[in-house]
Each structure stands twice: as structure tokens, then as C-alpha cells.
């Protein structure tokens, strides 16, 4: 393929630049650097002759005009500027539209920019924390108002629907995962305890681990990923679609219609899911104990009975509604924060899951500290 060319002729104080070939965006890279380097070398007048150019587009025209401006800025007078006649209209448009200074794309990260981003992120996180705290308080108050005030009725049907969606529909995935968790825990426990001849204590480790911590924690994390994200996406999509605004103008209370059924449904469903998760994990563990160590099911039950008491079970269960409340709140809060564009639905859904998983684990640690102080 032909390439663009230019060369310089010097006669006295006149510098003559001739150019030809295809001056288009596909070939601009070949001449751009050299054109920038052009120097007057004491010439007083410059003539630019692009008469041999056989293809010219806006980029090529820009290069010619930029070169002319470059010579002019260096103090030369450009006395002639010729291009093939057909390209004159194009040149005229570029000439009149040509921006004074090229817009530079900022590519370098400065220390100042880094500090600014750090400050903004910190400030944003604080604002976010205050926002969620305020929201939790407000919804709690609304919840009590709704069940006490006769004028605002609690949405029973919607709540039951939510229980189905977040609870019953989650049974397969929670069941499968918790079964596998039970299998893995029993296997690892057995592997270690076998060395000391304490095989049977695998059951203790499994029972306490699942009932106190893992059952509720893993269930809550699955539900944060499954239902917390769904809350944000559903409410966020309604926000994008102006459905939330439409509800408000019709006099519907958004908290009553959308938020409370979701949060209440989750608070009711998660303890049941946790109970189910505990049982399934223990079944998984019992199977592994049988196949790996020959502990029969009656032996397993007897050992489990000695290892755990009601408190062990309740310590796990009491966390479930708290986790559910936090997951539901964060999901709805982020959903209502969605702006009117599709990209923010995705961004806030991600944020909702990250925040609720983070809060669930932090709260779990808080519970552990509390129980150890209380001596349970």
C-alpha cells in the first residue's frame, strides 16, 4: 500500500514543504512524529504544497493545518498553502473548527490524585456507614408503626411470597452446599483425630462447629449472595424505571409495599433455613463418619447427644434473624440508592453483596466475643 510522504526544499529564506500520497487516519502514524520535529532553521517564509496528496481525510487535513500553525507559531509567514481542489471544503471545515489547544488525556497518577481518591473513598465509606445505620433505624420504626397503626396494614401476602422466594426456593442450593460442608468437615476432622485414636471426637467437632457457627454463617452468606443481591436488583430496576416514583405519587408507602415484606420474609425464613442447613450438614457428616471410620448412625447420635446441648444449637439459631435483618436492610438500602441508569444497578448489586457478607462476618465475630464474655 502506498504511504504518505513529504520533503523539504530550501532556497534562500524560503522553505518549501511538498507532500503527497494518502494522508488519511490509517497512515497518519507514519508522518506525525516527523512533522512534529520540523524546524524553520532560519527560514522566513514557508510554502506548503500538498497538491500531490491523493487521499485526504480530516486527520490528514488536521496534520497539514497543524504543521502550518507550527511554522506560523515559530515566526515564519506561510505564504502558500495548496491542496487539490476537491479537498478545499474539507480543509475549510477543519480550519474553522480547529480547536486552539489539543485536549490532553490525563494518564499519569500523581501523589495528589492518589491522596484525593483515598480521601474520597474514606469519606464515602463513612457516609455509607451512617446512611445504613440511619436506614436500619428508620425501617425498624416503620415496622413497629405498621403493625400497630390500623390505617397501614401489614402486607401479609407479599411477605408470604417473599418467604417462598428467599426460603423455600433456596432449599436445594443450601441443602447441597451444607451437605458437602458436613462431608468435608467430617473428613478433615477424622483425618487429624485418627492419629490420636480419637476418631469418635470427630462427631463433637462436627456437631459444635456446624451448630454454633458454620450452619448459620454459610447459610447467611449464601442468602446474601442469592436474596440480598436480588433485593437490590429488583428495587434498583424499579428505581431506574421510575416505578418507585410512580408509587409515591399514587400515595403508596414504599416501605410498606416493598421493604417490609422483604425484610420480614427474610427474618422469618432464615432461621428455618439455618435449622435445615444444620440438619443436612449433620447428615452429610454422619455419612462420612460411617464410610470413613465405620461410626454407625446410632453411635453418631449417641456421641452427638453427649457433645452438644440445647445451648449449642440456640447460640447458632439466635444469630439467624439478626443476620437476616442485616442482609435484608443492606439489600433494600442499596436498591433504593440506585440512580437512573442501568450501570448503577450492577454496581450497587455488587456493593450490596459485599457489604452484607462483610457485616454478617463482623457480626458473627461480635457474637463470639459476646458469648465468650457471657460464658456460653
Amino acid at each position: 500500500m502506498a504511504s504518505p510522504w513529504f520533503h523539504l526544499d530550501r532556497s534562500g529564506t524560503v522553505l518549501r514543504l511538498s507532500a503527497g500520497g494518502p494522508w488519511t487516519v490509517y497512515h497518519a502514524g507514519a508522518v506525525d512524529g516527523a512533522l512534529r520535529q520540523l524546524k524553520l532553521d532560519g527560514a522566513a517564509t514557508v510554502e506548503i504544497d500538498a497538491g500531490a496528496v491523493d487521499a485526504l481525510d480530516t486527520t490528514g487535513a488536521w496534520l497539514l493545518l497543524r504543521t502550518r500553525a507550527q511554522f506560523a507559531a515559530a515566526g515564519a509567514s506561510v505564504t502558500a498553502f495548496t491542496v487539490p481542489e476537491g479537498y478545499l471544503p474539507l480543509l475549510k471545515v477543519i480550519d474553522s473548527d480547529a480547536p486552539p489547544a489539543p485536549a490532553a488525556v490525563v494518564t499519569h497518577e500523581t501523589l495528589q490524585a492518589f491522596l484525593e481518591r483515598l480521601g474520597r473513598a474514606t469519606h464515602g465509606a463513612l457516609i455509607q456507614a451512617v446512611g445504613i445505620l440511619g436506614y436500619v433505624g428508620r425501617i425498624t420504626i416503620e415496622w413497629f408503626k405498621t403493625i400497630t397503626a390500623p390505617a397501614r396494614h401489614f402486607r401479609f401476602t407479599a411477605t408470604v411470597h417473599q418467604i417462598e422466594e428467599v426460603g423455600i426456593d433456596a432449599l436445594p442450593i443450601v441443602g447441597l452446599l451444607m451437605f458437602l460442608v458436613g462431608v468435608v468437615l467430617a473428613y478433615q476432622g477424622a483425618d487429624q483425630l485418627k492419629r490420636f485414636g480419637l476418631d469418635i471426637f470427630t462427631v463433637n467437632a462436627l456437631g459444635i462447629g456446624v451448630l454454633r457457627e458454620l450452619g448459620v454463617l454459610i447459610t447467611a452468606i449464601i442468602i446474601a449472595g442469592r436474596s440480598g443481591s436480588a433485593f437490590t436488583a429488583q428495587i434498583g430496576t424499579m428505581k431506574v424505571n421510575e416505578e418507585i416514583d410512580a408509587m409515591q405519587t399514587m400515595g403508596l408507602n414504599v416501605d410498606d409495599v416493598l421493604i417490609l415484606p422483604r425484610v420480614t420474609g427474610l427474618v422469618i425464613a432464615l432461621p428455618f433455613l439455618t435449622f435445615y442447613a444444620d440438619i443436612v450438614a449433620l447428615i452429610g457428616g454422619a455419612m462420612m463418619c460411617y464410610f470413613d471410620m465405620g461410626i454407625t448412625f446410632p453411635m453418631f447420635i449417641r456421641q452427638l447427644h453427649q457433645a452438644v446441648n440445647l445451648d449449642t444449637f440456640l447460640v447458632g439459631m439466635i444469630k439467624a434473624p439478626v443476620f437476616a435483618y442485616v442482609i435484608g436492610m443492606v439489600g433494600c438500602f442499596e436498591g433504593l440508592n440506585v440512580e437512573r441508569n442501568a450501570a448503577s444497578v450492577g454496581r450497587l448489586t455488587t456493593r450490596s453483596v459485599v457489604e452484607s457478607v462483610f457485616l454478617v462476618i463482623v457480626l458473627d465475630a461480635g457474637f463470639s466475643v459476646m458469648f465468650s464474655i457471657l460464658g456460653i
Binding site: 487516519v25 490509517y26 497518519a28 502514524g29 480547536p99 489539543p102 485536549a103 488525556v105
Partner: protein, 252 residues
């Protein structure tokens, strides 16, 4: 060669979900003209545009762009042909994670070896050509108004100096002043750059202001002609369209 149609559609049949959208549609677009496709909502105007630019495969028929049969081209041939047209989608379709300047530079980055400094200059130049202020370059699409987004998107469509631009409802969602300004922008760019403009529109004012010919999509067929020729057609939809209250107001 110059007299050959730049876009030629022959016997185009489109079936969407068992519904016949285009029934043997023929269309020729001449080099350097502004042609508008009009028609009722859901009549398949945008589908026609999408078929021509290769986003949809027609059930039957031939589509030639620059004399090449786009339906039978392989991927590499299609890529090289695609650089010769630009598309302006309805809401701009700017990449939301990039600034306006970066958006404009995407085709340059992908298809040319232009150095970064020159890319910045080209982006600034294109922004000036579409009438956007220089400070728009570093904004993200979400920070722009609808009209500015369309201008920025037009700048991106024009960055490789295409021969054809496809516009999907260029004035939809703009206020009348912004819409008229956009019409003028397209008209002046079309003249100075020698573009062929293929647009889908509802806007009667746009038709009157800048279009050389109109193609009306009614009953799965195209009726093509100048505005005056098409207005004389007896089809009830066309009569309603051009002689309804809005049509009369726009023609005045």
C-alpha cells in the same frame, strides 16, 4: 462507479419470531444523499438498519454495501468494510466506563497506529466538529445530557472518516431546539465531508429540513421517493402521517 448505489437492498425478507417484518423489500441509496426511513412503531425500521449494518441476518434477500454482498462476507472482510461506515445508536451507546475522549479514540486504537498525542488532537478536533465544548472530553457519558451524548457518539462514529453514517432516531428525546440544532449539524457535516446519511426517524421536521429522499415502511414494503412524491401516495398510513395535524404543521 459513482452512479452505483452505495447501499443496495434486494428482496429483503425478515422474519422475527414467526412474524413477517419485511416482505421482499428493495432499496437503493445513492452516494452522498440523505435518506430517511419512516414508519409506524414496530414496523421494522430499526430492524432494517440493523440488517444493513450486519447486526441481524435476513431470512432472504441480498444486501450490498459499496458493491459488496455483506450477507456472504467472512469476518475479516466484514471488519474492513465496517470501518467505512459509522453508526449512531439511539441513546449514543457510548461506553459508560470510558470518558468521551477515550470513547472517540476507541476506533483509532483498534484500527490504526496513530500515536497517543495525535489521538488526543483528533478527539479534540472531532469534538469541535460536532459542536461540543472542549471540557466535555474528560467527562463520562453519564455526566452528559442526552443531546451532548448524541453529539459525542456522532464524533465517535465519524472518527475514521466513514463514507456512510447510519443514524437511529437521531432527534428522539431531544427538545425541539436541540433537535433542530442536531439536524443542522448533520446537514453541515454531510455537505462538508460528503457523507451518505441513512437515518431512521419519526421526526417530520428532520425530514423536511435535511432529507433528500424518504422511504416509508408500510405493510412490510418500502415506498421510496422525494417527500413530495411520497406524499402523493394513496396509502392511508402515509396520508395520515403527512397530512395529520403534526404532518401539516411540519410541512408549512
Amino acid at each position: 462507479m459513482a452512479d452505483d448505489p452505495i447501499i443496495s437492498v434486494r428482496g429483503l425478507v425478515t422474519n422475527l419470531g414467526g412474524k413477517l417484518i419485511h416482505d421482499h423489500v428493495d432499496l437503493d441509496v445513492r452516494r452522498g444523499e440523505v435518506i430517511a426511513i419512516v414508519g409506524g412503531s414496530g414496523s421494522g425500521k430499526s430492524v432494517l438498519l440493523r440488517s444493513i449494518v450486519g447486526l441481524m441476518r435476513p431470512a432472504a434477500g441480498a444486501i450490498h454495501l459499496f458493491g459488496e454482498d455483506v450477507v456472504s462476507l467472512n469476518e475479516a472482510q466484514m471488519r474492513s468494510l465496517q470501518r467505512r461506515w459509522g453508526v449512531l445508536f439511539q441513546d449514543g451507546a457510548l461506553f459508560s466506563s470510558q470518558t468521551v475522549a477515550e470513547n472517540i479514540q476507541v476506533p483509532l486504537r483498534e484500527f490504526t497506529d496513530v500515536p497517543q498525542e495525535l489521538m488526543n488532537e483528533i478527539a479534540a478536533l472531532k469534538l469541535a466538529m460536532v459542536g461540543l465544548a472542549e471540557d466535555a472530553a474528560h467527562k463520562f457519558p453519564s455526566e452528559l445530557s442526552g443531546g451532548m451524548r448524541k453529539r459525542a457518539s456522532l464524533a465517535r462514529a465519524l472518527v475514521l472518516d466513514p463514507e456512510i453514517v447510519f443514524l437511529d432516531e437521531p432527534t428522539a428525546g431531544l427538545d425541539p431546539i436541540a433537535a433542530a440544532a442536531f439536524d443542522q449539524l448533520i446537514a453541515s457535516l454531510q455537505k462538508s465531508l460528503g457523507l451518505t446519511v441513512f437515518m431512521v426517524t419519526h421526526d417530520l421536521d428532520t425530514l423536511n429540513a435535511i432529507c433528500d429522499r424518504v422511504a416509508v415502511l408500510v405493510n412490510r414494503k418500502l415506498k421510496v421517493g422525494t417527500i413530495d412524491e411520497v406524499r402523493r401516495d394513496g396509502d392511508p398510513w402515509i396520508q395520515e402521517y403527512f397530512s395529520g395535524p403534526r404532518g401539516r404543521a411540519a410541512m408549512r
